[in-house]
């Protein structure tokens, strides 16, 4: 191939990231088999591009040559385009596809600069060569770090480069969204980590940048998610949030490297990496669940759904587990990684260096806020979709999805539980990967991780106690009720006799208090028609949460460019005399310049 060898290599880090790539590809493939009706136009090509995406992701992860990496990266960027535009009859879908490809191309521009810079200084496009130059030249490393953060961050979905996620994920078929959100954006994280391994010892401010980016993405992501009433958009924004969490972890780890504190390094990277896997599990699960909902009720508009748990118990159960996991509730896998992260926060707190302590505090605040808001968001998502009474006839007549779809969801759900239960083992299993990512010796990492896994072991014991207790109470209650008797009755409606499904609390109203409180950040447009008079004719509340960054930053910039460019029109006015004059003028100008 032009200008580069075909150098591939699998080390622990690559192998680690290959897990979600291949695992999720297999499961989504299984799911998609029955999700897509055959004979529907574009089905075949969607399979082609799904596999192309998998292959490209794998190639990116194992590539050790700049040009090869770039090629694989671009294929990985192009393949999903055709997945996003699958349902191409809808204008919104085409728009989403455009946003997606435009965003990823802008990211690539930065990567091009980075790789060109490196290739010229190193004289080779081999990663080894890069490392050699970078270690020697700190300024260069800082430049490369920033370029990499922007370039790879746009793929991972770091605010404000996240704008494509909430457009692309809802548009794509659900299993494709699952793969993109579960695996593809993680490849962005992988690339960032890979660059970090080449960059040499980081100055503290890298850690701070990562931490800040992570905190921003995490908090804003979950806030925007709260404002959504389209299930898949909501999930997309949660991907932004979780990428934020991962980045916080990496940021802590980098700070640890900068301050020479192995414990921080180990905990930070471990938390980030473990969350990579966890997120790909439960986010994959949730997207598949959303797919089943769409398949059954033909919509993912929250206000149209409800009461699906009775109609699709398996899907509901899996979705519930997924929600609990992503919120970070014990004893599921989400809790393990967030435990590590908060734990590292506390470790940082106790450090004498003021900066480190501040970083610890920031981590705690961010994680606390994210945790609470995420809980609110998924209480809403699950509660509105699966509980209560159906809000539309489609939801009324929803059917449970077929075996293959259930199978892949159940597998993922089980994984959520299992990783949670064997958390300590998982943490100590991470040692090698963390060592590879951080460049510290394995023994140090292991030493730093041991207490954490120890604590987790105790925690797990507590959770078993919890489970036993709940079982106990449940049994007791049932035993009691068996004699005291159970009645069913309509719920309390303040005396109103005939409650209907439309009278239930809606998604918008559920999140309205929080949305209003953070309206400054969410900046979503509300159209409120408040009831007035004794017999109000109509009252309505509609909220449109188009992405603020897209609406207030990128779209205006784009329009400005258009206006600027259309000014050029004046030179192409169609008068041949003046065209000839251009030729003459250019000639004279050049002659003048040359004779100077």
């Amino acid at each position: 191939m032009p200008g580069g060898g075909l150098h591939v290599e699998i080390d622990v880090l690559s192998a680690f990231f290959l897990l979600p790539v291949f695992g999720l590809s297999a499961l989504t493939g299984l799911y998609g088999r029955s999700y897509l009706e055959d004979g529907e136009p574009g089905t075949a090509s969607s399979w082609l591009h799904l596999n192309l995406l998998t292959a490209a992701m794998a190639l990116v992860v194992v590539a050790r040559n700049g040009l090869l990496f770039l090629l694989a990266w671009e294929i990985m960027a192009l393949a999903p385009f055709f997945l996003v535009i699958f349902d191409d009859r809808r204008e919104s879908t085409r728009h989403a596809a455009w946003i997606y490809l435009a965003a990823t191309h802008l990211g690539t521009a930065f990567l091009l600069v980075m790789f060109v810079l490196l290739a010229n200084l190193a004289g080779t496009s081999d990663f080894g060569g890069y490392a050699a130059v970078l270690r020697a030249n700190p300024t260069l490393s800082s430049v490369v770090f920033l370029l990499a953060l922007i370039g790879f961050g746009s793929k991972a979905g770091i605010v404000p480069a996240h704008v494509w996620l909430p457009e692309a994920h809802p548009a794509a078929p659900s299993h494709a969204s699952a793969l993109m959100s579960g695996a593809m954006i993680k490849v962005g994280i992988y690339a960032l980590l890979r660059m970090l391994t080449l960059l040499g010892t980081p100055p503290p401010w890298w850690g701070w940048v990562l931490l800040a980016a992570g905190a921003a993405s995490g908090v804003l992501g979950v806030l925007y998610a709260l404002a959504q009433h389209d299930l898949k958009r909501l999930l997309a924004y949660h991907s932004v949030e979780n990428i934020g969490i991962i980045l916080i972890g990496i940021g802590i780890g980098v700070l640890g490297l900068a301050y020479g504190n192995p414990t921080l390094v180990a905990l930070g990277f471990a938390a980030g990496l473990l969350h990579v896997v966890n997120h790909s599990i439960f986010k994959g699960l949730l997207f598949l669940g959303a797919g089943s909902v769409q398949h059954a009720a033909h919509t993912v508009e929250l206000e149209e759904l409800g009461g699906l748990l009775k109609r699709m118990p398996w899907t509901g159960a899996c979705f519930l587990l997924g929600s609990a996991a992503i919120v970070g509730l014990p004893p599921l896998n989400g809790f393990i990684s967030e435990f590590l992260l908060i734990y590292s926060g506390y470790v940082a707190l106790l450090l004498p260096t003021m900066a480190a302590a501040a970083a610890g505090l920031i981590t705690l605040v961010a994680m606390g806020l994210i945790g609470g808001l995420a809980a609110a968001c998924f209480a809403k998502a699950f509660g509105i979709v699966f509980l209560g009474a159906p809000r539309s006839s489609e939801a009324e007549h929803a059917q449970e999805s077929g075996q293959p779809m259930l199978a892949s969801m159940v597998i993922l759900a089980v994984l959520c539980v299992v990783i949670g239960i064997v958390g300590p083992l998982v943490v100590s299993a991470l040692t090698a990967v963390v060592a590879a990512a951080s460049g510290l010796p394995v023994t140090e990492i292991a030493a730093a991780l041991n207490p954490a896994s120890g604590s987790l072991a105790v925690a797990i014991a507590l959770f078993t106690a919890l489970v036993v207790l709940s079982a106990l109470f449940w049994a007791a209650r049932e035993w009691r009720l068996a004699r005291a008797g159970v009645r069913r009755a309509p719920v309390w409606g303040c005396g109103f006799g005939r409650p209907t499904a439309r009278m239930q609390y809606t998604a918008s109203s559920f999140s309205q208090p929080l949305v209003t409180q953070f309206r400054l950040l969410i900046a979503n447009r509300e159209a409120v028609l408040t009831p007035d008079g004794y017999f109000p004719a109509a009252a309505s509340y509609a909220s449109d949460s188009g992405d603020p960054f897209l609406r207030l930053l990128f779209a205006p910039t784009f329009r400005w460019f258009r206006r600027l460019a259309s000014r050029l029109n004046v030179i192409q006015h169609g008068h041949i005399h003046v065209y000839v004059l251009y030729v003459a003028a250019t000639l004279i100008a050049l002659l003048a310049w040359a004779s100077l």
Binding site: L78, A109, V113, F558, F561, R562, A565, L568, Y579, A594
Partner: protein, 488 residues
């Protein structure tokens, strides 16, 4: 046969074909075009092999001279003509109201092969005067190809093309004269022989070479469509029949650029490397920016492609201005651009025939109504806006590397910015053209296997070159790049 005759043969075959066309029936004309360009491609290939073996070939007592640089262009030229002729068959034979009357067909054939011959003359001539003659000839011959179906718009476009380019070419001749005059010791009648001028012992007067290059740059630059003297280009491209537009963008512009490039080594020798390179970089960057700017608000598909040609010619010029690595990238880019741009014009032309317009608002849902050419449109435009893994991505990457190596960071950033603007805006149009809603009235197209072959072949080639450059090709382009810098 000795290679020298290959050159003569190429010219003779083309001219003979042109003359024969004057007495042929339409289908014969189109068949003739295909046959001739196929033969020429063969000859060019054989010539290429010999040149790669023995660095250069001369014929007709030094009147003709080809080195790796010109043979590379020859091969691309023949390739483009072959593709265009193949497409012309589709376009004219079952093109509805586009089918040719006998007179028109003969005129088309004669002019088509005539301009083919003229371009070859430009590429093979060693005498700068003859090169100029050939260039002027292409202008005069292609003028009536634009208004093959004369109507107001095509006549307007044709007149603009004719007048502006003639004036430009006239300036180029002034440049040629200055070059000849700048030879201090009298080479006598050989004062216009490139081989003599480029020879190490030739001493050229700096002042005159300065003026000469300025005139040449402006003169041939007008024909090559460098901004800001590209004004004729969008009109001509949008009004000409699709095969002609494809040939214009596919190679006519490159021929003009080739002429400029022939002067660059002379200027380098006379004035050191700075002067010419800076001018190339400047005009290249300017063309990129202007092209990108105009692409942003285009409505007409063919005009969009025309401005994209301005941009890409700018890229190529920029490359030549950026040292050996840049020249390599520029040459590779020439090949990629010619292939993808021709295909793009084919697709737009065919779809235009079906939709009866080139307005991108109306021209939507191509993939639904016409899978083959819809695919062609999608593939070629994706390639043109620089999406990987198409070959253009690779040549642009190499260009960036060249820019970085020269330390031209400003240019690099401008290039990337313009590229991003083009990508984003053109993609918006492309998505609706390819995937949008089609008129329900539009019947599904049934395409000849030849056109399927054309589309798949070209896209395949672009993908192949994007993923893997065969060593021999890389070597050949490298040799061409050296020849371009007269590092013989």
């Amino acid at each position: 046969m000795t290679p020298g005759y290959a050159i003569d043969a190429m010219l003779i075959v083309a001219i003979a074909g042109a003359l024969l066309c004057l007495a042929a029936r339409p289908r014969q004309v189109l068949a003739m075009a295909i046959a001739v360009s196929a033969v020429e491609l063969g000859l060019a290939a054989s010539l290429w092999v010999t040149v790669l073996a023995k660095s250069h070939v001369t014929a007709a007592d030094d009147l003709f001279f080809v080195d790796a640089f010109s043979t590379f262009h020859l091969v691309v030229l023949c390739l483009v003509f072959l593709l265009c002729s193949l497409f012309a068959w589709d376009y004219f034979v079952d093109g509805g109201e586009f089918t040719l009357a006998v007179g028109t067909a003969r005129r088309f054939g004669a002019l088509w092969l005539g301009s083919f011959a003229a371009m070859m003359l430009v590429l093979v001539s060693n005498n700068l005067g003859i090169m100029w003659v050939g260039m002027e000839a292409t202008t005069l011959l292609t003028a009536f190809l634009i208004s093959l179906h004369p109507d107001r718009l095509s006549l307007e476009a044709m007149w603009k093309y004719l007048l502006i380019c003639s004036v430009g070419i006239a300036f180029a001749f002034v440049g040629t004269i200055f070059t000849a005059a700048s030879v201090q010791e009298g080479l006598g009648a050989d004062a216009l022989l490139w081989t003599r001028l480029a020879a190490p012992e030739a001493r050229l007067d700096p002042t005159l070479m300065t003026f000469a290059f300025v005139f040449v740059l402006v003169g041939y630059g007008t024909k090559a469509g460098l901004a800001p003297i590209h004004s004729w280009l969008p009109d001509a491209h949008s009004q000409a029949p699709a095969p002609v537009s494809a040939m214009f963008s596919g190679f006519l512009l490159n021929t003009a650029l080739y002429c400029i490039l022939r002067y660059v080594p002379l200027v380098r020798r006379a004035l050191g490397s700075g002067f010419a390179d800076h001018l190339l970089v400047f005009f290249g960057a300017l063309s990129i920016l202007v092209g990108a700017g105009f692409i942003v608000f285009q409505r007409d598909a063919k005009r969009l492609l025309a401005y994209s040609s301005v941009e890409h010619l700018g890229i190529i010029a920029l490359g030549y201005g950026l040292g050996p690595l840049g020249s390599f990238a520029a040459l590779f880019h020439t090949l990629n651009h010619s292939l993808s741009k021709s295909l793009a014009f084919f697709a737009v032309g065919r779809l235009g025939q079906r939709y009866g317009t080139h307005d991108m608002g109306t021209l939507s849902g191509a993939l639904r109504t016409d899978r083959v050419w819809g695919l062609g449109l999608l593939g070629s435009l994706l390639a043109l806006i620089g999406a990987a893994p198409f070959a253009i991505f690779m040549s642009e990457y190499q260009l960036l590397r060249a820019a970085a190596r020269e330390g031209a960071w400003l240019v690099l950033v401008l290039f990337l910015a313009a590229g991003a603007v083009v990508f984003i805006t053109a993609l918006r149009q492309l998505i609706d053209m390819a995937f949008g809603d089609a008129h329900s009235s539009m019947p599904k197209a049934r395409n000849a296997s030849s056109s399927i072959l054309l589309v798949v072949g070209v896209i395949g080639l672009l993908l192949f070159l994007g993923l893997w450059m065969p060593p021999w090709l890389g070597d050949a382009i490298g040799r061409a790049a050296d020849a371009a810098g007269a590092r013989l």
